[in-house]
Symmetry: C2
Subunit: 87 residues, 2 copies
């Protein structure tokens, strides 16, 4: 397993395309940011699907850590993941 | 030194406030994403200044790694940092 953070920058009216597939694998932590633990296979799928989805003026960065323990997460302002606790 | 990635979500007409101060410490890698190596002191300044800058419906996440070596960075689509190489 690896821990990844995906940030993307795309046209506002097209973000739903990324939301719909990324939420199958990851947690939605901010408007255009997802994170979570996935298999190497999932990561490959995410990379391929991201490549297919983005148009030429859009981009995504996938940060990959071998484990969540190598990263600390500090939230300033409202933490959107708080909502998830009450679902 | 620590390696950080800052992602923020704020009103489009106010993003300049974050851009202006974050670019003093970090590299601008995507629309609302900065990253780079900073001192613990810089990180504290960045946290405080981010807290002061954001309004209640806005947020930022700061991912902190003890070193850049713990994170791999994969770019899908255009890499905005490519521009920097030619400056």
């Amino acid at each position: 397993m690896v821990y990844i953070v995906v940030v993307y920058d795309m046209q506002a009216d097209r973000t739903r395309l990324m939301l719909n597939f990324l939420r199958k694998y990851l947690t939605h932590v901010q408007n255009s940011v997802f994170e979570g633990e996935v298999t190497e296979g999932d990561l490959e799928t995410i990379q391929n699907k991201t490549r297919e989805t983005l148009k030429s003026d859009e981009s995504a960065i996938i940060y990959r850590m071998s484990s969540e323990k190598y990263v600390d997460r500090m939230v300033v302002g409202e933490d959107p993941t708080d909502d998830a606790r009450f679902l």
